[in-house]
Symmetry: C3
Subunit: 310 residues, 3 copies
């Protein structure tokens, strides 16, 4: 049986550390947090979060900070790519060993892949991975799962399409790995140049059915959830190659209404550029902005559980 004790004082660094019972537990706590977010909560009163963003990510930073404020906690922020101590030659480990004396919990975004593991190793206060290079961004995955579950009432039984650049996107890799814990069908919809990394598919295919396709309109009718990502020009060798595919992975009102199920949920980790047309924004299918709210709920859950105050 999973219980609070499994999270109290613990770090949160990788989705790989959590199986289905843990995920269910966290997402259920996030449901409770959705209520508290409205009512106001004193759970973390007197507690301090260090919000260390050694790589800029305004969205994730503000989400962590607001989550802490919703629990009545305080936040001390480092939003510089390079803090002064690092400039003086301090190791990441020493930075953490210092900061942990100031606060009750640390959330960190860092450009290095091994940063979260290294930080967690020395921290005596709970350490939350707010994105470590291209390795993991586990709170993003949690919010995606929670949004999906809220939008569709469940995750089991869903057919989920991931669309766009599946090769380079950290969020789709993490999400696919997490979906391994659910009874779902996944379509990876991408041009040849941007197909889902084979090793990620390898990791999940014993548990879930993953189908790789390249045609969005033909796949669209199957999907309960569409998880869009950006197709960036820089990812292609030539302009010609890019031009050939760029319009094939754009979600617009016509795509939703002509090819999609009536209640298909459109998600996106944001920021979007043009891969979702603004004419989708006021459709009930548009979940990508509401999705952000689930970042508050899930981060409140992770913070409250790690602090042992829930």
């Amino acid at each position: 049986m999973v219980s609070k004790a499994d999270f109290k004082g613990k770090h949160f660094i990788s989705m790989s550390d959590y199986g289905r019972p843990q995920l269910d537990y966290i997402l259920n706590v996030a449901d409770e947090m959705a209520k508290l977010e409205k009512q106001g909560s004193q759970l973390a009163r007197g507690k301090v979060l260090a919000s260390l963003f050694m790589e800029p990510s305004t969205r994730t930073r503000l989400s962590f900070e607001s989550a802490m404020f919703r629990l009545s906690g305080s936040v001390t922020t480092v939003a510089d790519p390079m803090t002064s101590s690092i400039k003086k030659g301090e190791t990441l480990e020493d930075t953490i060993r210092t900061v942990m004396n100031y606060v009750d919990i640390i959330a960190m975004r860092h450009p290095d892949n091994d940063s979260a593991t290294r930080a967690a190793k020395v921290s005596t206060v709970p350490f939350i991975n707010g994105g470590s290079g291209t390795w993991e961004h586990p709170t993003q995955t949690l919010l995606d799962l929670h949004c999906m579950r809220t939008a569709k009432g469940r995750i089991d039984g869903l057919t989920i399409g991931m669309v766009g650049d599946l090769k380079n996107g950290r969020t789709v890799h993490s999400l696919l790995k997490a979906l391994r814990n659910y009874d779902v069908k996944v379509y990876c919809v991408a041009p040849d140049a941007l197909k889902m990394k084979p090793e990620v598919i390898e990791e999940v295919k014993d548990r879930i059915e993953v189908t790789e396709v390249s045609d969005l309109p033909r796949t669209m009718p199957e999907l309960d959830v569409v998880y869009m990502t950006r197709v960036q020009r820089e990812r292609f060798a030539t302009q010609e190659e890019y031009d050939k595919v760029k319009d094939s992975y754009i979600m617009d009102r016509k795509m939703v209404q002509k090819h999609g199920k009536k209640d298909v949920a459109i998600m996106h980790p944001l920021p979007r550029v043009n891969e979702i047309n603004t004419d989708v924004d006021d459709l009930p299918n548009a979940w990508y902005f509401r999705q952000m709210k689930h970042g508050i709920y899930t981060r409140m859950a992770i913070i409250a559980l790690a602090l042992g105050v829930y």
Copy 2:
């Protein structure tokens, strides 16, 4: 009759949206806030303000943040000229649609003239214009009015001088437009090259008497309030032209004591450079530092009214 209901959940983007009854209402609430600022207030406990400064303005940012703290609220800050999401190509509208999921109220400074209008259009939480390009800076005008009313006990009946660069100053334009709601006489005291914009005078002259002059010492004896602004070298075509006028618009102790009324109030939006000599600082007529305090009171008022917690 104006009531709280007229402000609850509403945006605050332009002084043009407010007539005399609304201004009186807000300034009266600011009087109450002056008391609460000392006693402490729990009005915004549990509420979160996003303080988005896409253009640096330490003074205005700190004033908004302190105002929120005085109401026991929390603040999450973006103080970078360019946030990471904007760099990735996100529109202002999408930034607001994201941030509004995290907080209860947004205050934003932005270099674009249409930024406040665009943001307010999509925001489902109250949006406060903290300065939008050269278009409007309405909370500055509110604090100027509240300081003036406090310094002189009233605004009606006053003779007010605006001095210096009246052509380029956003604050004097907004203040003059707001004064249209009061029974005042205004002197615009400026060199030819920096005269008040004709279209602003045009906008107010049906309601208030505006006199354009260029001689400060001769106008000084008439004035109850002097609103100083900077005369910047860059605004002149030649050094010669600048040198001719630069010393004519400097307020010093002699100017106050030889030419001014005994209780003339000297104001300035700050920062000053040399247009007010430091020998004025300890005269009782110097209101320009105390003026900043009124930024706290009026911003507390706007925040509390918009949140519907007052």
Copy 3:
């Protein structure tokens, strides 16, 4: 008799303003704060600290901010080397005269030696020097004293070694001056090129015994406390000169265990680079990370005393 009244509403700018009775009083209050840090305290509820860091210092900034949060106060931060108003030509005095209208207390780090004195002169709210150029960093010295007293149970009677670059280090100068108030013996352990400034020794030698040496292993057995500092390559005229001494001032496990007293306390103002080997980190003698916690306790003490809320 020293009492709270001696600190209420007062600035905290230089260690020279405090004799032994004042130091004892502050350090005793810091002991109380160590308890409150765990229990939580409401002492500064409703109060606002301006954390002005015109020179980057993440460590000191976060420490001040966490100290304020531990007292349930709020913090508004300027972490830019140059704030926008300063860019516009505002004097430091005017910046302070503005900010003091927004907050109850100011902590500032500034690159200029005379900054703290100038700021304190105009501020009508308590002003705390968070480091002013190479002049003073008094809260660092307080935390060093409090850590030392905690590590060894007392300061009187101790033999203290300061090691490394004693010529350029602001922290060792301040610490030595402060130790003048105690009954201690001090060894200054440094290469010829980096010896303690003669004028600092001159200032304290009437009260305490200071011995200048260059050999760490031979001095080590005498020491109850070792205060390490960095020996930087840039401080030497030639690489050869640097190479000759660099390894002589490195603290490693062997140095502690072979030459040191069993309970010698190793301290360091941090960040360290390689002058303390990581193999010392898990020895009970390593106090340099715990030392940071004393920055919270002493800054809580200074803030609470200056606000008059303790």
